[in-house]
Every structure is written in structure tokens, then in C-alpha cells.
Point group: C2
Chain length 324, copies 2
């Protein structure tokens, strides 16, 4: 790799002179400048991070850490963040963490060395101390963290309540819940909303909450099991759309008619819910607006050194489709 | 940002001494070493790329450039590459290029500055000269490029032929094709395979090839259109599984029975094809093996400076499901 030293030695000038030319700062004779530029071209030199950071203070790169690239919600979120970042002249790199704390920490440390300008983080394992230690401006997206860091979330608790209220409004009187993990604030709060809405129902002594493992396959299995034990269930609230797809396939495989005999509602608003038969009703998150907001807040931190900590909470919206 | 110079000045030693401590090389007095380590800890110093590269010659990071993060094929491929990379002690970063040449070049140049050790590239716009110019060890995946660079692909032409042959074997005598773009070698070759298989059919004068835009929605529209014009079509080969899902939904919306009146086959073998009703027959790519091979070949280039150019061609496999 060509270094700034090589350029200096080739051009027969000091490293400081090369840096002045690179940054167009300070007094450099025209002739010397041409000499340095020739050396840069000849050696195919590209200023690396250290140089670049010493000189300009930024790399024009943002990293996005997401827990599961195979759940379409995150690619859709990544696309919206990428568009917003590109509009501001930033390039986005993606890091898939599998929600694994040691992978998350490895990324944070690697990104720090790589001098990424900012980070958008979706994590349910790190606390704000661990995040702030990296020293890189960061906003947390999708999942609540403690309060020392700027976050963008949706009102998952209210969304959960609204989903169940809607199922009740259309006549469901025994509603099951396909849940995410209690370690993840977003799905934990959706479950809380579900519990709040059903706590006075006569069948409350039976536990109608089953785990969906964030996958259509897991959710398929759990749905088959709970519908076999409780054939009188006539509404299911799945904690995300991917799991709602699993519910739908399970219900169809049992020859139960949707929505006549059983209604299904998901959460997220990903495109997948529009291509199933029937299409799936969902509590839709404003994915584009959230991505845009994350980038806006990050830009303020990166470019204007804004230290303010804010919590943006977006509202989810009921989108009625054929499954209810 | 703390630099190696700050550490040296804080510890009252030379930069060279700090570098010897960082890399555990050369003779450094125990006392001096402790002093440097104290300075590193106190200043929260993390060696950046330049330092790290000068010292150890690698960043232990691989980048993967993919054209469309919202097509589940690429997240599945990324996951397999990530597992293989992690096993070798490498961290993977993902770059979503939208198949846009200027974005691809921006990434290559940014990654070069960031001193990524290697790149796995899925691109249909760059030639090998542009790729090799970055100076970073690179393997090309999924799409054929010219021959100056190591590539991992599947036999798309044979796969296309096999898909159509299977539809004929089960009795389809009028087969349409939902195509990708001719700019992309993989889907272009699948189309070639289709054409080869139908070129002697009596209905060849009618053009039954329609564009699917790599999305379920586009493919849905194209399918409705072609089935309205040609209601006697009884088989459809979609150039990828996402488009096959669009075909399935379109066919169902026209109340045509699958597979009784019309059979559908896709390409890729993504999980999505297993959760539709009916499940979708596909020409499956060995996604895990391809990802693993890409990392293996890249490791050879990165660690053993292997300059050999190879072309690995994997075979696709017919997976029969309910849509045929």
C-alpha cells in the first residue's frame, strides 16, 4: 500500500507539504503542488483513514448494525436509511450482528478503527455506556435502550393494544399471541399491549401466548400446536409480519378459513404481507420516515456536534387487508 | 481522535517504540512497555488502519457488495458468506449497490481507503479492469464477468433448460418466461436456456417472454397481462423465486388452479418459496456452498497471495414442490 511517506519521498518534499496539498490548505508553491499531484497520480495513492481524518475529520461513511438481515423488515429499513444517507453524501455500510453481543462489540471496535463517522444501531444487548464508549456519534433505532442515547422507536405498546382492540372490534373473542423475545424491547412491549387488552377476558387463565422465534417456520409450528389445543381461537396477533405469514400458512394447512373463522394481524408493514393470499392486516411502522429521521439526527451529531439526547417515538398505523 | 503520536508523546517515547509495543516486536524494556500500555489505556487509543496496516498488514475485514438487499436471495447469500468469514476470524461488512455502477465505484474507492482485506462482489456493471484497479483481493460471485478475475457462479444456462424440460415432462405444452434483465449475465443465461428448449415449439412465433423486474409486484402485473392475452399458457418459468411468487399470486387471483391448470417453477431456492401456498418448485442454488467457496478462494488470495484465476461453476438442483 502506498503511504503518504512514499508520496513525499517520490515528490522530494516533506509529509507536511503533501498533507497541505491534499487538503488545499497553507502556502504551497504551484510548482511543488504539481510535483506532489504527479507523485499521487503516479503512485496511485489514496489517502487512508488516518491521513483523511487528521486532515478533514470525516470519512463520509455511516454504519448500520442490524440483528437479522433475513427478516425483510431490516433490509427495508436499511434501504430507507441508505437513501437518506446518500442524499447527504454519505455511504452506508451494513453489519449483520445476529443480535449477538460479542459480534456487536467486535463491529463497534472495528468501526472505530475504521473511523466511520456515525452509527445507526439496532441492538437489544448493548447499554448506552457500551455504545458511547466507541466515541462514534450513534443513534439507536427500532429498540428502546436506556436514556443516555438518542433513539428512534415506535409506540409498540400502543400498537399492540390497537391490534388486539381491532380484532375484538371485528368480533374475535378468543385471541392468541405469537410472541417475540422478552429480551427485545419492541416485541416485549407489543406483548404487554396484548396482555393489557385481554386481561379481563374469561379465558385469561389459559395461556394463549406462544413463541414465534421471529421466523415463519417457528411460528407455523407454534400456530399448529396452539390451534390443536384450542380450536376455538378465532383471532391471532403475531408480533411481526414474518411470523404472521407463518400463522397464515399454518391456519390454511388446517383448512380453517381466513378471515371467516379466524382473523390474523401482524406488525411491521413489510411488503411480504401484500403478496400472500389473503393479504395480511398489519400495524405498519413508518419505515421510510424512521430511516430518514435516524439519518437526520445522526447528521446533527456528526456535523454540528449536537450532544442533545432525544427520543423520537413514531406512531404505527393499522392497515386493513384481507386477513381480517 | 487519539493518534499514535499522542500515545508516544504521553508516554515520552518515540512513535517507533509505541509501534513495537503494539505489535509485540523488537526489544522494548519492560518498564517502557508498561508506560506505553498505560498511555494507550489512558488515552483510549485504538490503532487505526494506517497504523494497523503498517504493522500487521491486515484489517481482518471483508466487504460484500450486493445489488439488492430486499431480494431475499442476497440476504441468504450474505448470511452464508458471513458464517464462513467469521469462522476464519474475519468480520463482514455489507454494501448495497442497487446494481448502480457509480455506487459500486464509490464503494470500491471507499473500501480501498478503509483498507478492507478482501471483497466479494456481485456486480453486473464492472469489468475486471475496474475491479482490479482497487488493488484489493476480490472474487466475483453470482454473475459472470470477463475472465481476468476469480468467479463463483452456477450453470444458469443449463438450469434454465432443466426448468423448462421439467415443465414439458409433466405435460406443459405452452410455457411462458418471466425474465430478468439482459444486462445481468445470470438471468440472461436462464432465458437462453428457456429459448433453447422452446425453439421448436409450434407457438414459438408468439413471444411469451415478459419482464418481471426482479420483483413480485412487477411479475404479478406481467403475468396478469400475458395470461389475459394467452389463456392457454399452462406452464411458467420465472427467472427467480421472488418473481415466481408474483406469478403464483397473479395466477391465483385469476382463479386458475395451480398446478392442475398451470405449473410454476422459479430459480434460486430461497426460503420464501417454502412458505407460499402452494409451495413453489425451483431450480435451487447451493447458497451455503457458494458463500463458503467465495470466502475460501478469497482467503487464499488474501493470506497466501494466490494470484491464480479460477472459475467455479456450481450445479443447480431441481426441487419439486406443490406448484408443479
Amino acid at each position: 500500500m502506498t503511504t503518504i511517506k512514499d508520496v513525499a519521498s517520490f515528490a522530494n518534499v516533506s509529509v507536511a507539504t503533501v498533507s497541505r496539498v491534499l487538503n488545499n490548505k497553507g502556502n504551497v508553491k504551484r510548482e511543488t503542488k504539481l510535483q506532489v499531484e504527479k507523485a499521487i497520480k503516479y503512485l496511485n495513492y489514496s489517502p487512508n483513514d488516518l491521513a483523511r481524518n487528521l486532515f478533514t475529520g470525516n470519512s463520509k461513511m455511516i454504519a448500520l448494525l442490524i440483528p437479522d438481515i433475513t427478516n425483510p423488515f431490516f433490509p427495508e429499513l436499511a434501504s430507507s436509511i441508505e437513501s437518506a444517507a446518500n442524499e447527504h453524501g454519505y455511504t452506508l455500510i451494513l453489519c449483520n450482528t445476529a443480535g449477538n453481543q460479542s459480534k456487536e462489540l467486535t463491529y463497534l471496535s472495528a468501526l472505530r478503527r475504521k473511523c466511520v463517522d456515525g452509527i445507526v444501531l439496532v441492538s437489544n444487548t448493548l447499554d448506552s455506556k457500551q455504545i458511547l464508549e466507541s466515541g462514534i456519534p450513534t443513534v439507536v433505532l427500532d429498540r428502546e435502550t436506556d436514556f443516555d442515547i438518542t433513539s428512534i422507536t415506535v409506540n409498540n405498546y400502543e400498537g399492540g393494544k390497537q391490534a388486539v382492540r381491532f380484532l375484538k372490534d371485528i368480533g374475535c373473542d378468543k385471541i392468541a399471541h405469537i410472541a417475540g423475545s422478552d429480551n427485545i424491547s419492541s416485541t416485549k412491549n407489543r406483548k404487554k399491549g396484548y396482555i393489557e387488552m385481554i386481561k379481563e377476558d374469561p379465558w385469561i387463565i389459559e395461556n394463549l401466548i406462544v413463541p414465534g422465534g421471529y421466523s415463519a417456520k417457528e411460528s407455523f409450528k407454534s400456530t399448529i400446536k396452539i390451534l390443536t389445543t384450542h380450536p376455538d381461537i378465532n383471532g391471532i396477533f403475531a408480533s411481526n409480519d414474518v411470523m404472521a405469514v407463518g400463522v397464515l400458512e399454518a391456519v390454511k394447512s388446517l383448512d380453517i378459513s381466513v378471515p371467516k373463522d379466524l382473523a390474523i394481524i401482524g406488525f411491521d408493514g413489510i411488503e411480504l404481507g401484500e403478496i400472500t393470499t389473503p393479504t395480511i392486516t398489519t400495524m405498519s411502522q413508518p419505515i421510510t420516515a424512521m430511516g430518514r429521521k435516524a439519518v437526520d439526527l445522526l447528521i446533527k451529531k456528526m456535523q454540528y456536534k449536537n450532544d442533545e439526547i432525544s427520543s423520537e417515538v413514531f406512531q404505527v398505523e393499522l392497515i386493513k387487508r384481507e386477513s381480517t
